[in-house]
């Protein structure tokens, strides 16, 4: 009799450990994959859907992605309609009710930060604009702090037994990140006020570094650079010279090289996300390398 009572009580105490298993995380972009790894440690099983060499606006809803979405417990994406061309298909085709928008298994990084460039006029004549604001929030590493808060909370919500573990890792990450931010802002002091040309519109990197974007290679967001537009940019650079052209790794190098040759300024290939360059192995490396490359070009 006593043995039965004891066994019963022991089984009650032990029950949370039965259901304990790795949290399957589906990260849309490598920066959020890397952040999930920082916060989730060995409690998460991570799948990153895209690489830094892929344009996150234009991903094909491949069968392999649907199969991965089917198994996910948590989806971590940018949001702000960056993935509108493929993520909704994956979610609907997956037959997975754990990760549908509105539920605890669906996390959008853009919802935790203040988006810049919220368009005042919604018209596709303005190019590929996003009604919620510009979604490339990882251009500014300071945005990673609120995103990390939200993500740790989301992880703790779907895996309550490890909530403390995620909070602990969050504290540790934030401490290291604050340190890195300080280091970066000291290193970037030399870039303040420097004029740059950007391939694709991104207000976050200039906001972080204090660089000044004088022109974009894309005539409108998401529209391919045309010869006519490049000529206009070249003419503008004669008036207001820039120090460098910034191009995310996933864009074709041709338009920027064409302009660089004629304007006599260097092209800086930015990693844009984790894995976008050999040195951008993790989140810290991503911004280290971004700064290294820009500082090198500004000499």
């Amino acid at each position: 009799m006593t043995i039965w009572v004891r066994l019963f009580l022991m089984s009650l105490a032990a029950w949370p450990t039965w259901v304990q298993a790795d949290v399957n995380v589906f990260a849309c972009e490598p920066e959020w994959g890397a952040l999930t790894q920082e916060l989730g440690g060995d409690k998460v099983k991570l799948f990153t859907a895209t690489s830094a060499l892929q344009d996150p606006h234009r991903i094909q809803a491949r069968p392999s992605l649907i199969a991965k979405m089917r198994q996910a417990d948590l989806v971590v994406c940018t949001g702000a309609e960056l993935e509108i061309g493929w993520l909704p298909v994956l979610l609907r085709e997956s037959g997975n009710n754990r990760v549908q928008p509105g539920g605890p298994g669906y996390f959008e990084a853009a919802r935790t930060v203040n988006l810049l460039e919220r368009p005042s006029r919604l018209d596709r004549a303005g190019g590929d604009i996003h009604p919620a604001g510009n979604p490339h929030i990882q251009g500014d590493p300071r945005n990673l702090l609120p995103v990390a808060d939200g993500l740790a909370q989301a992880l703790g919500q779907i895996d309550a037994s490890n909530a403390g573990y995620y909070q602990g890792r969050l504290m540790d990450f934030k401490r290291r990140w604050q340190g890195a931010l300080q280091k970066w802002s000291q290193r970037a002091a030399r870039l303040r006020g420097v004029a740059v040309v950007m391939q694709h519109r991104d207000p976050y990197l200039p906001a972080w570094l204090g660089v000044h974007a004088v022109a974009e290679l894309e005539p409108l967001p998401g529209v391919e650079p045309s010869a006519a537009h490049l000529a206009t940019v070249l003419a503008r650079l004669k008036q207001t010279p820039a120090k460098m052209i910034l191009r995310p790794a996933y864009f074709s190098p041709r338009p920027s090289e064409w302009l660089a040759e004629r304007a006599g300024i260097p092209v800086v290939e930015l990693p844009f996300s984790v894995g976008g360059s050999p040195a951008a192995k993790d989140l810290f490396g991503l911004y280290d390398d971004t700064l290294d490359r820009m500082l090198e070009a500004s000499k």
Binding site: S51, A67, V89
Partner: protein, 453 residues
């Protein structure tokens, strides 16, 4: 925590409710002592946990305050309005110019056509087949979508109007209403998503534009890294090759299996097989007799179709932005048996076994520009009326192998616009070798749902 406390309490209660089994009073005292010790132990642990939780909460609110400095979210509440929950509305505008020969009684030789009149692409300018789509999540459990198409002659038709479950889970999705069947690859695609101006001869002979269902579809996805998707449908079976029958129960049934995955970073594929069984009752058709005069007739019997499809896509490093390549092929086999009657023939036993395929490739050689080639081929196979080849009675069903070469070039300055030029060498009708030229536009306004693979 509450649940655990209650369970603990009931466990203790249970222990006390069965004193008869423990006849030794010392034993009972010992158990009481043990339980008391356990209770105290649990109380202490619960208190410790509560303290930890409070501390964690303090940390988070502190952290939130810290992070607020550069970029915390400020979600301006949008003003309340009655139209806030309007569905996603999308409008597809299409139109074309086609330069064709004036061919009376145009048909695909060897195959029973879809209706009692000849059909085909119209000559000159046309701007029909514009498509309006409405879609929204209905509630946390369902999503709804409707597609309305306007076509000259038929007017507005409801092409699709269905609900789809969002919350079944375990890989299951149930669809119900009017929808495009999941058989084959192109069947679910609407014309604006086609890579050529027209659809393959195979689809034209099989279903016209596509096989629609009024019914239900259950889909299951296996929890594996390889995509394994099983689909089954039951429907009214009113669409060609079936016909509307006045009956209870399901008029048709389909089964399908799809597999798919990646090969390295740059390649992905999907392949599948599907089966459709349906019946036709007095399914009217049009034909030509050996003298070349038009006749009409009808078919009653069963129709069975097998379809296989394979798609392979190449995108360098998984990035389709600059260049990409798509290879696509489908094959079918259809057997029909029953009885066929026509203006110049009395109802006799009819049996056919026919097949066909197409293969096509589309290459984006630079941003915005794509070039594509398609080859269509059909095989009439056997078609016998009362034991003899049907060609001797109905000349438009004579033994012939329709084929077509198509070449296209398209330009899409954004995801929302496309202009396409197509040239085809069409031999789908016996005695005809036609050069066809078509120029087409497809514009997408408003919400435009993401396309499937």
């Amino acid at each position: 925590m509450y649940v655990r406390r209650t369970l603990l309490a009931s466990a203790i209660a249970m222990a006390f409710a069965m004193p008869a089994q423990a006849d030794n009073s010392d034993d009972i005292a010992a158990i009481r002592k043990e339980i008391e010790a356990m209770r105290q132990n649990y109380e202490a642990r619960i208190q410790a946990l509560e303290a930890q939780l409070k501390q964690a909460e303090r940390h988070t609110s502190q952290a939130k305050a810290d992070a607020a400095e550069p970029t915390a979210a400020d979600h301006a509440t949008p003003p309340a309005a009655a139209n806030s929950f309007n569905p996603e509305i999308g409008l597809i505008l299409t139109g074309r110019y086609a330069n064709l020969k004036d061919v009376p009684n145009r048909h695909i030789t060897g195959f029973l056509p879809l209706g009692p009149a000849a059909a085909g692409m119209r000559r000159g300018f046309t701007a029909d087949a514009s498509e309006l789509s409405l879609a929204a999540d209905i509630d946390p459990d369902f999503r709804g979508q409707a597609n309305l198409v306007y076509e000259d002659g038929t007017g507005a038709t409801v092409e699709e109007a269905y609900f789809q479950t969002l919350s079944l889970g375990s890989g299951f999705t149930l669809k119900g209403g009017r929808f495009r069947s999941a058989i084959g690859y192109m069947n679910e695609q609407h014309p604006h998503a086609w890579d050529f101006v027209d659809n393959p001869l195979m689809y034209q002979a099989l279903f016209g534009e596509g096989y629609g269902q009024d019914g239900v579809q259950l889909k299951w996805l296996a929890p594996t890294d390889l995509l394994v998707e099983l689909t089954g449908e039951l429907g009214r079976g009113a669409d060609f090759p079936g016909s509307d029958r006045n009956k209870n129960g399901a008029g048709d049934a389909t089964l399908g299996l799809h597999l798919g995955g990646d090969v390295g970073l740059s390649n992905s594929w999907r392949g599948g097989i599907a089966y459709l069984r349906t019946r036709a009752e007095n399914r009217a058709f049009f034909g030509l007799d050996p003298a070349g005069t038009a006749l009409t007739g009808d078919f009653t019997g069963r129709s069975r179709t097998w379809l296989a499809d394979f798609i392979w896509k190449w995108t360098p490093n998984g990035n389709p932005r600059e260049t990409n390549f798509k290879f696509q092929t489908e094959w079918f086999q259809r057997s029909e048996s029953g009885s066929l009657a026509c203006t110049r023939c009395i109802a006799s036993p009819y049996a056919s076994e026919q097949s066909g395929w197409y293969v096509q490739s589309v290459y984006q050689f630079m941003p915005m520009w794509r070039i594509g080639y398609r080859y269509d081929r059909l095989d009439r196979g056997t078609a016998r009326l009362d034991g003899a080849d049907i060609g001797s009675t109905i000349a438009s069903l004579a033994d012939y192998s329709p084929s077509r070469h198509s070449l296209m070039l398209d330009w899409s300055p954004s995801e929302f616009s496309l202009v396409r030029l197509q040239y085809a060498r069409d031999k789908s009708m016996a005695g005809l070798a036609e050069n066809q030229v078509a120029l087409q536009y497809v514009y997408s306004l408003g919400a435009h749902g993401a396309h499937k693979y």
